[in-house]
């Protein structure tokens, strides 16, 4: 992203500015989550507690549905575990960039690891060596937007019912498109992305929802390594 001189000098400001596309996506989605949670009968504190302590969008939406259906707590927790398991792959993929970090720093970082922050961190690490301040500022800005959106949804869900006229519902998809383009630098990676994307869609349509992303990623990355090794020996 192009930044002005002042922002470039300040790691914290750079982190905040890099988080802006995430903020544009998180506030309306957090808002929708807050509205749904209220309709499901959760209190404002319960709704916000999930955004602060769990902080995982899709699993929060699913949990709200399960709470209102009266599903047992154990089932809700197991479902949450499965839905969020894909973060394991993202955490592993980022780990080579986090050498020398203390266990506590890693814990704080991992606590705020989401699909979107993973994407932006991957881009930052590829472009250079971002300062810890920039990395944490991005995470904190993103989660603040998520909690703020949730709170707005709780308190003024009746006021704004539709963000579609502003195209805000497309902010995160557009960001993933850009991050994907920026993450790809050779032909094998193009093949890996296409394979994983198509497999993910096929698995989803085949009814493997919740597992489709993990399965497609594992197969796609494995194909990438195999092709890379084969092209080396030739």
């Amino acid at each position: 992203m192009k930044t002005t001189g002042f922002v470039k000098e300040q790691p914290w400001l750079r982190g905040v500015s890099r988080a802006l596309p995430i903020v544009m996506g998180y506030i309306p989605i957090g808002f929708a989550y807050g509205v749904l949670a209220q309709k499901a009968g959760l209190s404002v504190w319960q709704t916000l507690a999930m955004s602060v302590f769990v902080y995982a969008g899709s699993s929060q939406f699913i949990a709200v549905g399960l709470f209102s259906a009266g599903i047992s707590p154990l089932s809700i927790i197991i479902t949450t575990f499965i839905v969020n398991l894909r973060h394991m792959l993202m955490s592993a993929a980022l780990s080579p960039n986090l050498k020398g970090w203390s266990k506590a720093e890693l814990a704080v970082f991992a606590y705020e690891l989401t699909d979107e922050s993973f994407g932006v961190h991957t881009m930052s690490f590829k472009a250079g060596n971002p300062a810890k301040g920039e990395i944490f500022a991005l995470n904190i800005t993103a989660q603040t937007a998520w909690v703020l959106g949730s709170w707005l949804g709780c308190t003024m869900g009746g006021l704004i019912s539709d963000v579609r006229p502003y195209g805000l519902d497309y902010a995160l998809a557009a960001m993933f498109i850009a991050l994907l383009v920026l993450a790809i630098s050779d032909r094998i990676q193009v093949a890996v992305a296409v394979t994983a994307g198509v497999l993910s869609l096929v698995f989803l349509l085949a009814g493997l929802d919740q597992w489709h992303v993990i399965l497609a990623t594992v197969i796609g990355a494995t194909i990438g390594v195999v092709v890379e090794e084969c092209s080396k020996t030739r």
Binding site: M123, Y170, A174, A178
Partner: protein, 105 residues
């Protein structure tokens, strides 16, 4: 009971996020594992993205009225040519908002 459930959700969400960085960040990885991990970002980003634009309602929708898919092409071109995440995001959002305004979809 809901707060206890949330505590459980917090635990099972945090553990998969933290375990890999705790175990891997301090180690030097075998070359094969390291190159496998380098393919994870393009794979996982594509795996999350493609279903959300090709099948936003859960079924494959290749009709031009599927704005998520139609807007993806110019968004991708802007990202590719400008290398700007922000520019791509604004392009995508503006195209979706304008198309709705013009065609009312």
């Amino acid at each position: 009971m809901i707060f206890l459930t949330i505590a459980g959700m917090m635990l099972v969400t945090f553990l998969p996020r933290v375990a890999p960085v705790w175990f891997l960040a301090s180690r030097s990885l075998p070359p094969l594992v390291a190159s496998w991990l380098r393919y994870v970002p393009p794979a996982v980003l594509a795996a999350m993205l493609l279903p959300s634009i090709v099948a936003p309602e859960g079924v494959v929708d290749l009709h031009w009225r599927n704005l998520y898919l139609m807007a993806a092409v110019p968004t991708l071109l802007v990202a590719w040519k400008t290398r700007s995440m922000f520019g791509a995001v604004l392009t995508g959002m503006a195209l979706v908002a304008l198309s709705r305004l013009v065609w009312g979809i």
